[in-house]
Amino acid sequence: MLRDFRKKILKSPISVLLPVSGLIILGLSTLFSITTTTQGQTPLNALSKQIIFMIPSLILMFIILLTPRRIIHKYIYLIYGCIIIAVTLPFFGEKISGTYRWINFGLPFGLQPSEIAKLIIVIALARYLSDHTLKIKNFYAIVVPFLIVLFPTMIVLSQPDLGTAFVMIIPVFTMLFWIGSRPIHLFLIIAPLLSVFTAFDILVFSIWATIMAVVIFLARLKLWHALGLYFSNIFLGLIFPLMWGSLRSYQQNRLLSLFNPELDPLGAGYQIIQSKIALGSGGFMGKGWGQGSQTHLKFLPVQESDFIVSVIGEELGFLTLLIMLVLFSWLIIKIIRLALDTTDRFSSLVLVGISTIFLTHVFVNCAMTVGMIPVKGLPLPFISYGGSFLLSCFMMVGFVLNFGREKLD
């Protein structure tokens, strides 16, 4: 038995752990810098909590690593059901910082089931896509996969947690693409959303309408389908501003704040400005570990989680951020390579989904800190402070080690 385990571990793509440990060290040392100079230290500060969370994370990683794949395959729908219930549980608890994200067990920290839900959804989706021999070139074949994802996504969206909802929805596209879905179909799914969003600016909408026309033309759909799709999208874009105008202003605000929770000018705008100042003032080599004035004078908001990149950028400089990005790309490319190497469809789909989750997190988080996209509260894998997220990251590493292994069982 033990020997079996040893064999399992040794056959795993352990090199994945190299970038992971590099990122963990970077994250912990940054948290150490933040917490040492913070006034009014509590015994359970961000750093010690993070270290404590490492223990269950590593244990879970090993458990997942050792669990036979067919067991995962067998029970994943059940787990999927459980996680959907778990995601709805916070609604019965009390609101924390204006959202229903956490379940409180009376511990000094809460658990965020939506963090775990992301990867469960990916695995459940992988099973669906690998079990059924779908006529994947057919548009209607991608409807069920979307439903699998959309159901929990809508729940998370109403918590509200736009960032996590975004991370949940993205892997569907890569996974469908992976198994050969036509890109035009994926495009058609995003099209109505884009039609709605671009409708507010006549120029942007015209550009969008042109792009859409070109894409639909190149896709060589049946004329009847092409015209129908095109004009229903245009119609949607035209009708939406009218519908929007008929809403009362508080209703508009309620919808807008769903997509941009920090609508107040001192919120998001302030955070981005401070984040850019912190990053920019770090320069090439940084101000030195523990020397960041923006960090330690608390100009930088949510610095231990969402804006931790700004802390690294300020104190350790561009060079360290570059190393960090190299580590991330190493990790993600490694996972994709593993997906390419596996012959098993289920495994490769899981790996593709996980790599997508990582990539989305890295992109959204970094792009937000440098002001490329609006503020969305998404943490940076292995580096940001946050128990549930750390747990889910190591679970994903566990899955990568497990599914990336050459076939043993």
Partner: protein, 573 residues
């Protein structure tokens, strides 16, 4: 797909490079600005002193309470706690917070003028309060013996509109105090001083996080003290004399124009404007029909009545149109075409010359002699004494009064709408002539110095001296003789003004100005001299009755107080 990963990471790396390497200088500068906060330190305003160096306006430390939006946890709770321990109404706190709010990180003023007492009670509740801080602020405090409210003026919090009007380079920030009237306004630039700056490191919540090495604070430069020509004890006496009345008292030194006492009654407590007084007291000042806020000395205009007669007398004497010996019979009234002009003494003064006409203030004499000249000649002469002209006293506002000319009358009534009868009225200082008590102070000073007086002032002469009237020494001497008789003669209307101090000589003239508002205004202008030291007095009692009976005793008390007290030799300013 690997390509996508590389692309995403390269895009991010490029953006980091752009921010951290290319734009490093910009952001580094902004980071410095971010953590260094400069806070202005108020400069203590200059003190205002009297001529003997006694402090009239001082500063004392008060405390201002601020709330910091970002740190306040429960606003309502804070308001309640503050209200309970200081007695300030929660609605006031709420209103202030809204008025002064700039952003979440800048302290917003909640209340001012907190006493040490209120502060210590607040300190006990400190654990209950979040985001509440206080700062010391030098506040004006006034000499309790006197009000002198119209001279001193008051400070006002400057509003955004006014800051804009002051031009670009002014130092003022919203909520700063600025001299808004009186000498606080006129001497604002020297009293104000220069604000200092404290630099300190702050965290994102604006909380002080230590000093910055190598960055020296700029200390505030206190405002200059201002020594006025006022005399606190005389001011106090005059304020006491005028208490409960409506009127004006001005005491000055004819040779210099320096004002010793300046009272416009009723006045108000200058503390009113520092916020130490309750709202209801403030309302009572505003609603007072006696208008205590009005500075009657500079901005009240009144008919001069008989005190104008010296202008007529001098003019006629100068033009040799009357002889001091010439007598006119006064039967108590005067017929002029179809109109009858009364003398104040309905029984008549009998046969009377110019001396007696001034001593007993006979009107009929002046009705008769004024007809020898034209209105414009009279106006020209009156202008030499400053009628219808500003005194250029160093206060922010004053009225010019009216000295009518032919043109003025034509404009007012039309070419044929007025007649010679108007001139008769003006001969006794009635009709369209209107003067301010300050103009009368200058007038009496000219009479006292034979035209060699200087511009009236409270701090310093602004060099707007009106030219010396072109009047012969003979006329001056005659007029001064008559004015002396007003006080010394048994029938003299100003005899009650004599405190009978050996060596003290007094010259004066009473006035009883008829007006449409009821009882006549009582006037008395006089000057007294003893051992080469001279002061002049102007008394006006609105609707006070006869000048000779009502106004003269006030002047007597001023003379008595001034020449009796064993004061040290005064500085000649």
């Amino acid at each position: 797909m690997i390509g996508v990963v590389v692309l995403v990471h390269s895009a991010l790396a490029f953006r980091f490079f752009q921010l951290q390497v290319l734009d490093f200088d910009i952001y580094n500068q902004r980071a410095e600005n971010n953590r260094i906060r400069a806070m202005s330190m108020p400069a203590p305003r200059g003190l205002i002193l009297d001529r003997h160096g006694e402090i009239i306006v001082d500063n004392y430390p008060t405390y201002i309470l601020y709330g910091i939006g970002a740190e306040i946890i429960n606003k309502k709770h804070n308001y309640n706690v503050i209200s309970q321990s200081t007695g300030i109404d929660t609605t006031v706190l709420k209103k202030n917070y809204q008025n002064y709010y700039r952003n979440r990180f800048v302290p917003t003023r909640l209340a001012k003028d907190l006493t040490i007492n209120q502060l210590s009670r607040l300190e006990e509740e400190k654990n209950e309060l979040s985001g509440i801080i206080y700062k010391q602020f030098p506040e004006r405090v006034y000499n309790q013996k006197i009000h002198a409210s119209h001279v001193l003026g008051y400070l006002k919090e400057i509003d955004r509109q006014s800051i804009g009007k002051l031009g670009e380079d002014n130092q003022y920030e919203y909520g700063d105090l600025i001299g808004w009237s009186g000498i606080e306004k006129n001497y604002e630039s020297s009293l104000r001083g220069k604000k200092g700056v404290t630099y300190y490191q702050v965290d994102a919540f604006g909380r002080e996080a230590g000093k910055i090495f190598g960055q020296e604070n700029i200390l505030p430069y206190p405002g200059k003290n201002i020594t006025t020509t006022l005399d606190v004890s005389l001011q106090q006496l005059l304020e006491t004399e005028l208490r409960g009345r409506r009127g004006v008292g001005i005491v000055s030194r004819p040779e210099t124009g320096g004002i010793l006492a300046y009272v416009s009654a009723p006045n108000y407590n200058p503390d009113l404007f520092t916020g130490l007084i309750s709202n209801s007291d403030w309302q009572s000042v505003i609603a007072d029909t006696n208008r205590p806020l009005l500075d009657r000395a500079a901005n009240g205009i009144y008919p001069p009545g008989s005190i104008f007669k010296m202008v007529v007398a001098i003019t006629l004497l100068e033009k040799k149109l009357i002889n001091p010996q010439d007598e006119i019979f006064c039967p108590g009234s005067y017929e002029f075409y179809d109109r009858t002009f009364g003398c104040w003494n309905q029984n008549g003064h009998g046969k009377i010359n110019i001396e007696q006409a001034i001593v007993q203030s006979c009107d009929v004499y002046f009705y008769e002699v004024i007809q020898k000249i034209k209105l414009d000649e009279l106006a020209e002469a009156a202008k030499q004494f400053g009628f219808g002209l500003e005194t250029y006293i160093d206060l922010p506002s004053e009225m010019k009064g009216i000295m009518p000319t032919q043109q003025f009358m034509n404009r007012l009534y039309g070419r044929w709408g007025w007649s010679q009868g108007a001139l008769l009225n003006m001969a006794i200082g009635q009709g369209e002539i209107l003067v301010t008590p300050l103009q009368m102070a200058r007038y009496i000073n000219m009479l006292a110095t034979k035209g060699k007086t200087r511009t009236l002032h409270i701090v310093q002469n602004k060099n707007h001296n009106i030219p010396e009237p072109n009047i012969s020494n003979r006329s001056w001497n005659l007029i001064q003789k008559y004015m002396s008789k007003v006080v010394t003669a048994p029938q003299g209307t100003g005899r009650l003004s004599n405190p009978k101090i050996p060596g003290l000589k007094i010259w004066g003239k009473t006035g009883t100005a008829e007006n449409p508002h009821g009882e006549p205004h009582a006037w008395y202008i006089a000057y007294g001299e003893k051992d080469g030291e001279m002061i002049s007095v102007v008394i006006l009692l609105e609707n006070g009755g006869h000048g000779g009976e009502m106004a003269t005793p006030l002047a007597r008390n001023v003379f008595k107080h001034y020449f009796n007290s064993n004061r040290t030799k005064l500085a000649k300013n």
